[in-house]
Amino acid sequence: MNSKQVEIEAAEWLARLDRDPSAAELTAFDRWGATDARNAAAYARLAATWQALDRIRAIRPSADEPIDNDYLNGSLQHSRPEPLHDLLPAALQSAAADSQDSQRRPSTGLLRDFSPDCLHESSIYDSQVSKSHWPLRTSSLLRPWPLTSIAASLTIAIAYLWGMHSVGGPITFSTSIGGFQRIVLEDRSAIELNTDSEVRVALTPNVRRVELVRGEAFFEVAHDTVRPFIVSAGRTAVRAVGTKFDVRRLGNSVEVFVDEGKVSVGEPSLLESQGDLLAISIPLLTAGQSALAGGGGVQLKQIPKREMARKLAWQNQMLEFDSDTLADVAAQFNRYNRRQLVIADPRLATLRIGGYFRPTNLDAFINVLQSDFGVSVNPDGNRLLLVTAKID
């Protein structure tokens, strides 16, 4: 029997076992697998493929929303977090282009999206804006934003703070647990609020002040040398002129990391002062660096690009892990959900997890824990107790 026929048989077995196989069928399957090592190998390859496909559940916002016909029609990639041409290996792209040329394959969204100047995120973005009642001065400042049927159902507000400095007092923005909000300020700076976060914004002629009251926020600061942008979080402040950075409050300390440009980190009173003093006395963070401030000191650290992208995955309302411990992963999910993951078996704390998840879709993650990592999940009120599954 040639390898193609072996593969076809293996696929038939997989489809049959995916139903409710009878005892007789299982026996026959065992016999088939034992006949030839190549049978077992072909089956294992397809079974691995089949299991990997379970990961697409990560794109569902929750486990109980109704079936979306767009998905069935092949519009899965509208939920994608990144432009398609960044996602696929070049070889695959050209392969797709080949098949398009020869019209051999069904034309799908996949092929459409390979056009070199693909702007589909922007067009989706535009359609969202037209639904919004907020006036927009410009869209050039805004990154292409993968707004989708899923994302649109989340809280995404585009606020415009007209003449805020003339109004006076600061304006407060906040998100609840699992929430997300993007705010565009009058100076065209943008703030993105992660789950359970709050900022107070006050723009004055001399300084742009934001207080991070709780949670985490990402700042895209519009360049303005005469009006520094100062973010304070407890006893730590960050000062920028034009840059992109993230600030997160963690108990008594504050974590800052810089995606683009430079910022100064220090005590609020110091950063408020003007002049050259800043340059010598205050730690300066550049792109790719992070600072952990608290307990009277500031620790600087270099962050690899990949890790930076992971830390900022929340901007796409996603969480990305790569060999992170279950303890860290659970802590991340717990920021976004009222139901809290609790590691009841200490052996699990160091289990390494990788993957890309929607933080509000806790059920999808639980599925993966159960199916891929041998973890059992026992609900207990608002808590989900994680224990090692018994191996059968």
């Binding site: 697409i56 559940r57 079936i67 394959r105 996949l110």
Partner: protein, 200 residues
């Protein structure tokens, strides 16, 4: 890079997909330099996977680098085949015997991060023929059983089963294999791979 050898079936599948099958495209390209006939490449791959999966525990825990081990195994399988059979020229045999398989380091294309992996899965599903795609989306995204899918799409259960069988093969091909023509027998396919060296 997870190099630990898996103990249970689910872990084994995860390991197979992440540490072995991701290299399949590169491995096919490598083997394609020595075999003109695609069916030969398919045979060597299947034999190679069979060898990998039948390793005993002590042998497999000794493997530090699965990528290198995979290519070395494939080369051994290929050499066996070449010695026994008639399919390749002596030049190819010489080349294969001398080529340093450890030079075949994984390229950036092969190692996908979690986000790229999700993108690839979504694209694969989206690229399936319509009915097949509907069935697999309902099965994998929504977790419907084959019976529920049959009811929803108003088709027979055996048709759903056929969609699943066909779909999983296409998915494996699109996710891991070099793209070929689905459904067409490779029996008489004498497509020369040497002319396609630009893929390497």
């Amino acid at each position: 890079m997870a190099a630990r050898y898996p103990v249970n079936l689910i872990e084994r599948n995860t390991w197979l997909a992440k540490d072995i099958l991701v290299h399949e495209r590169a491995l096919r390209a490598y083997l394609g330099r020595f075999f003109k006939n695609v069916a030969d490449v398919e045979d060597v791959l299947q034999d190679t996977y069979a060898r990998l999966l039948s390793l005993n525990d002590s042998a497999s825990t000794a493997v530090r680098n699965w990528h290198a081990f995979l290519f070395a195994s494939a080369r051994n399988v290929a050499l066996d085949r070449i010695r026994k059979a008639r399919v390749v020229s002596l030049d190819a045999l010489a080349e294969m015997g001398s080529a340093d398989v450890l030079d075949q380091t994984p390229s950036a294309d092969e190692t996908l991060n979690a986000r790229q992996e999700l993108g690839l899965l979504l694209d694969t599903i989206a690229s399936l023929p319509a009915r097949c795609r509907e069935a697999l989306t309902l099965r994998k995204l929504y977790g419907l059983s084959q019976r529920e899918i049959a009811e929803r799409l108003a088709i027979s259960e055996s048709t759903v089963e056929k969609h699943v069988a066909y779909g999983v093969r296409l998915c494996a091909e699109r996710m891991f294999a070099k793209r070929g023509e689905p459904g067409k027998s490779d029996e008489n396919n004498t497509l020369g791979r040497k002319g396609k060296s630009d893929e390497q």
